[in-house]
Amino acid sequence: MFLTLDPFLPAIAVPLVIALLIGLGLPKRWSVRLSYVGFLAPLLSALHVWWYYSSVPQNAGFAFYHTYSTGLDSLGIGLKFGVNGISMPLYVLAALVGFSAGLYAIRSGAERLKWYLMLLLVMQAGLMGIFASIDVFYIYFFHELALIPTFIMIGVWGGRDRNYAAMKMTIYLTVGAMLSLFGLIAIYVKSGVHSFDLITLKATLAQYPLEVIKQEHFVGILLLGLGILVSLWPLHTWAPLGYGAAPSSASMLHAGVLKKFGLYMLIQVVLPLLPNGLAHWSHLLALLALFGNVIVIGLVTIAQRDLKQMVGYSSVMHMGYAFLGIAANSALGTGGVVMLMVAHGLSVALLFLLTTSIHQRTETFSFNDMGGLARKAPVLAALFMAATFASIGLPGFANFWGELSIFVALWHYSAWMTSVAILGVIISAIYGLRSAAYVFFGEPSSTFALVDSKRPASDITWSERIPALILLVALLFVGFYPASLTTAINASLPASTVTQVGTHP
């Protein structure tokens, strides 16, 4: 009885209803209190889904299958919820990052906090919806629902250049989203089933695949659209700018979770539906990801003198690994990408959180004006070092497993690419450790000494510590016990990766 209830609808509806109540004029005190509920409900739902995932019956590979009609059945569109091994880890990721970003935002005391929380709640609802939906139309719909608040949050609560950043991000991401929608409509019409239901589409297209040339065209459009959304080089320029300007909770949610939408679409929708099309583009994709994202952006990241920009660029760089895993076109690579998405989501959210905490103490993001913060804030330093290690991909953190599987898969695809890609690990070690050194060690710069003398820097407070620890514990948990996710991922991969279509059998 307990397990037959739908865990997804509350996770989406509760934040939305609370956001609506706040919008209709709830007083501030109650808005803040109810926001806790709004962020907690998705987390509880996600833990429930994760814990019982293997023990509930599945419908065509999706657990907790539930459907609701919205009146568009004649078009083959409806709210269909369920998770498989690919979406379940990401569903949990969205809830974890959302909860910690929400806690951080509630305690941050932002200006016009009520409206900030309202937008964050809408975003959270959208994020949960993306990974809970089986209907491709609704995956897209929820993505847009989560995307719009980001623009507003940057525009209102952003840092410097916020107007320019908000405008640029809006235009880039709208182009990306519209192109993706075009590609999805193409699949919908040409598959002939006139349904956006992923299960129906998979079943039909497995039996009657589209012509190869059509697949190639559709994947080309989708890769362009999704590439913009995931910041594939050279379509990435919105990302560092946008993250640099965004308020911390917004960049946590966007870089940590929302940006994974594009990769998720590639794995969950494009790979099973248009395998030959993806295989056609995989070589170009691998080259762009390898030389563009990993090497060029990696070097650009090293050159950054601004902490938040650096984290933004590093997140663009790590997307390169994810694209490489997809291009490798094997079950191992795809599984590695899912793992990396979870790990990177947690670690980059943690980095953005800590970056803001550092900024509150140094009042700058510039490396030149920092130094020696570790003496004042040892716990903050320790947390930042841990996040940096995770981001580099040291064993013990979830990132290690993701990157390892991708490198092994890539070796089967192309050995020389793997050798180049591994250079990326060195690059991330350089910028990660250097940034830690600039911020925390050495002698305090004159600017920081001045700031510190005016308002002595304290160590990280509990309201910052708890959200950070939630993320760090999740990273370590998956790092030491990867089977908590991989069992589910493995079980779903053969079903969604159509038998090897790449260059290697």
Partner: protein, 502 residues
């Protein structure tokens, strides 16, 4: 007096089918009577009577469509055909005139003009729009269209003390007369050629849609008929504000009082589309070899022109006018697709309704922000709106978001349905143009939202503090309902989704 004729009329009861138009006209006349008999100081009640009466009528109409007893009826020897679709359009126009009346109460309170006639003309025009969409006869259509246009001449130049309004009135008069003459010339050509006895299937009834359609079916490449078809489309294109007949839009929209602008932007455009859809389905299909390329060119050019021209506007009335031009382009996409895809008609209806809801939200806010000089409404006047009046700014955000096509608002679903049917009709290149248009439109809609929300007054000391009209309780409730409807229609289409399978 010969009572048998009256008896005959009563038995046929054709007038009864036109009860919404008739009662709207009666209500309009009642307002004039009230103006004469009521003392001057209680004239304020007249506008309330107008709004209340339209509200009751709207309830009856909605009840009518829910009771589902509507079947296709031809009355007056086929001058008028009533279907479920025309009933839908009745609701559309009545809703539009109701909301225009509500906005007019806000705007006219700032003017010194006589007020009652405004509501009177709006209602008469709305009734004429209903007849226009119902007509299946070119003469009937022309008469209805002229009633609409002449009413709008008055409405556009209503605030006759403002120079910009007079300019708008004159421009609209000249352009309207030109478009009417084009349409009439087209009608005459079609009528003349279809009555030519040397052609197959010639008919004496060439004004009637069905007969004309049958004639065109048999003569699919007649030169004179093609000229007639193009001229008819050109005449309607003026109403819809479609390239290259959109050139009057910015000036007229700016000069007209805000409620009239809303009426032009929503109801007049929709009336054009309703008439075109009927004509397209019954008459023009045999000429799709000509009509579809022409309309496709117009759609693409309209989307590009509307969006690019709106980019540089700082006056919000011009901006919304030009964005309305681009919306006409998106709607035209659906009309073209409806030649092969039945779903497209439903998509156009859904788009029109979502456009109605969203536009009126925006015009409602504009009416409150505007000062006595109605033509002078700049983007900068919206700066700080979110701080001064959160309610108005929230309404504005929902309206603009829906116009921009942002989920989960109704406008997104409308665009999605139109795009879906356009893809099914294989209009790939037009779709790319449309996608480009959407991206451009995001820019100017967001700069409006940015002005209302992001830019703070402190940064711009040059702007004097602006007084904004307080929102009265009735308006507050109605427009909250419309905003919620916009929100909910984006999530849940319910039985409205069935239109799409009609």
């Amino acid at each position: 007096m010969d009572t048998s004729a009256l008896q005959h009329l009563a038995n046929q009861n054709v007038w009864g089918s036109l009860w919404p138009e008739l009662s709207l006209g009666t209500l309009a006349l009642l307002l004039l009577v009230l103006e004469i008999i009521l003392p001057k100081k209680s004239h304020d009640v007249i506008s309330k009577v107008a709004i209340f009466g339209q509200f009751i009528l709207l309830g009856l109409l909605v009840f009518g469509i829910c009771s589902d007893t509507l079947s296709k009826t031809e009355i007056f020897n086929g001058l008028i055909t009533l279907t479920k679709t025309t009933h839908l359009f009745r609701i559309f126009f009545l809703l539009a005139s109701l909301l225009v009346s509500m906005i007019a109460r806000v705007t006219l309170a700032k003017q010194t003009m006589p007020k009652v006639e405004f509501y009177h003309i709006v209602m008469v025009v709305a009734a004429a729009m209903m007849l226009l969409v119902e007509s299946t006869h070119l003469m009937m259509g022309f008469v209805a269209l002229e009633t609409v246009t002449i009413g709008l001449y008055v409405l556009v130049s209503y605030c006759r003390e403002s120079a910009l309004t007079l300019e708008a009135g004159l421009k609209y008069l000249i352009m309207g007369a030109l478009s009417s003459s084009l349409l009439l010339f087209g009608i005459v050509l079609l009528y003349g050629i279809s009555g030519n006895p040397s052609l197959v299937g010639h008919t004496a009834d060439g004004m009637h849609f069905q007969a004309l359609g049958a004639f065109l079916q048999l003569n699919p490449h007649n030169f004179i008929a093609s000229v007639g078809v193009i001229l008819v489309i050109a005449g309607i294109a003026f109403k819809m504000g479609v390239f290259p007949f959109q050139i009057w839009v910015p000036d007229v929209y700016q000069g007209a009082p805000t409620p009239t602008t809303a009426f032009l932007a929503v109801a007049s455009k929709a009336a054009g589309f309703g008439f075109l859809l009927g004509l397209f389905k019954l008459v023009l299909l045999p000429y799709s070899w000509l009509v579809i390329p022409v309309l496709s060119f117009m759609a693409g050019a309209t989307i590009l022109f509307g969006n690019f021209a709106a980019l540089t506007q700082t006056n919000v009335k011009r901006l919304i006018g030009l964005s309305g031009v681009s919306h006409a382009g998106f709607l035209l996409l659906g009309v073209i697709a409806s030649a092969t895809i039945p779903m497209a008609i439903g998509a156009v209806y859904f788009y029109l309704f979502s456009y109605l809801l969203a536009s009126f939200l925006v015009f409602f806010v504009m009416a409150h922000v505007a000062q006595a000089d109605d033509a002078n409404q700049e983007l900068t006047h919206f700066i700080g709106l979110s701080r001064d009046n959160p309610f108005l700014s929230a309404i504005l955000a929902i309206g603009l978001g829906s116009l921009a096509g942002i989920p989960p608002l109704a406008g997104f679903m409308g665009k999605f349905f139109v795009f879906l049917s356009a893809y099914q009709a294989k209009m790939y290149s037009l779709l790319f143009v449309a996608i480009l248009g959407v991206v451009i439109s995001i820019y100017y809609y967001f700069s409006w939202i940015k002005a209302a929300f992001f830019e703070s007054v402190e940064l711009d000391p040059a702007t004097p503090k602006r007084e904004r009209t307080e929102v009265c309780m009735g308006n507050r409730i109605i427009f909250t309902v419309i905003a919620l409807a916009t929100l909910i229609l984006g999530f849940y289409q319910g039985s409205l989704g069935q239109w799409l399978s009609w």
